[in-house]
Symmetry: C2
Amino acid sequence: MIRLHDNLSSGNGYKVRLLLAQLGIPFERVEYDIDEGQTRRPDFLKKVNSNGRVPVLETEDGEFLPESNAILFYLAEGTPYLPDEQLGRAMVLRWMFFEQYSHEPNIATPRFWITHHVEMTEGRRAELETKRKLGYDALEVMERYLRNSEFFVGDRYSVADVALYAYTHVAEEGGFDLARFPSINAWLGRVATQPGHVPIT
Amino acid sequence: MIRLHDNLSSGNGYKVRLLLAQLGIPFERVEYDIDEGQTRRPDFLKKVNSNGRVPVLETEDGEFLPESNAILFYLAEGTPYLPDEQLGRAMVLRWMFFEQYSHEPNIATPRFWITHHVEMTEGRRAELETKRKLGYDALEVMERYLRNSEFFVGDRYSVADVALYAYTHVAEEGGFDLARFPSINAWLGRVATQPGHVPIT
């Protein structure tokens, strides 16, 4: 059986749990306490992920695949959650790289700092200000795109939507005001009513 | 003809130029002065990339594909630069997401600040310290992996290597000392001697 090395509060982990639920794939979950540094221990670094992060998918053959969006792409190949054509697949990746570079570091990290009660040093406060601005920039990019599209690629639900939904729908836990983004809110509603949808915890 | 919206000093742009050269695909290059904010102008945001960044690949059909690693994946499908099997492709993506999340923001950004003479405010100095530590962490992950592997996926040169080579081989321009990473240096040499290799500028 597939095994997911995971943390329940992680939006990156949630991406994978959501897709596995929608694909109807049974899996075993291994929970790590990230506040306790359980993903930075020598045995984890050696065996599961040298980069010290979850989620990591462990295949039935015992291969370890880190990086939430790589896992989504892997599981979605050959299913309706990933386009058949080459440019469509690349457009899914375009939004996934946007998510990991422009969105997640600015929207997920403030949520992590707040919900995990991380000490707000002076350096972190300066960083938070930068992240707040860049996070709103990323939401603005999504809002403008969604004004004319139901979903991010080919006007149908795909793993691009799964990747962007994970941290957007809990962005308010990181102090972002989503009320000013009507197209994002409508899209969040469409994603949440897809067959097989499950909540983050 | 394919058109690449680009900036010559960008490692992300270089990834695409390098792969296009190795694939023998002719292309037209459109240069943007990023110091002058040419990728943040309304016409660029509207037509080329709403996220205000290069590189962007413009296909012969006039479609615009942003995100360097999405472009690499798109161009490499069906060529020797991307594995045939599903898990191999996912492992390429794993290293590409590692590159954009854990490597590029910490290794490319200090290089940009230094080579583009960006003003070092107090906030930026605090950020630089964080990035220095995280950048070395990313190089350490690469070093450990390369101790037992010639290349990042399946022991053959792929777009995972292209993605990671771009900013690693100029990391010293951002103040990183590569002398302490013998396995990375050996790998840089293997990448630089691949058929069709071209330098960054």
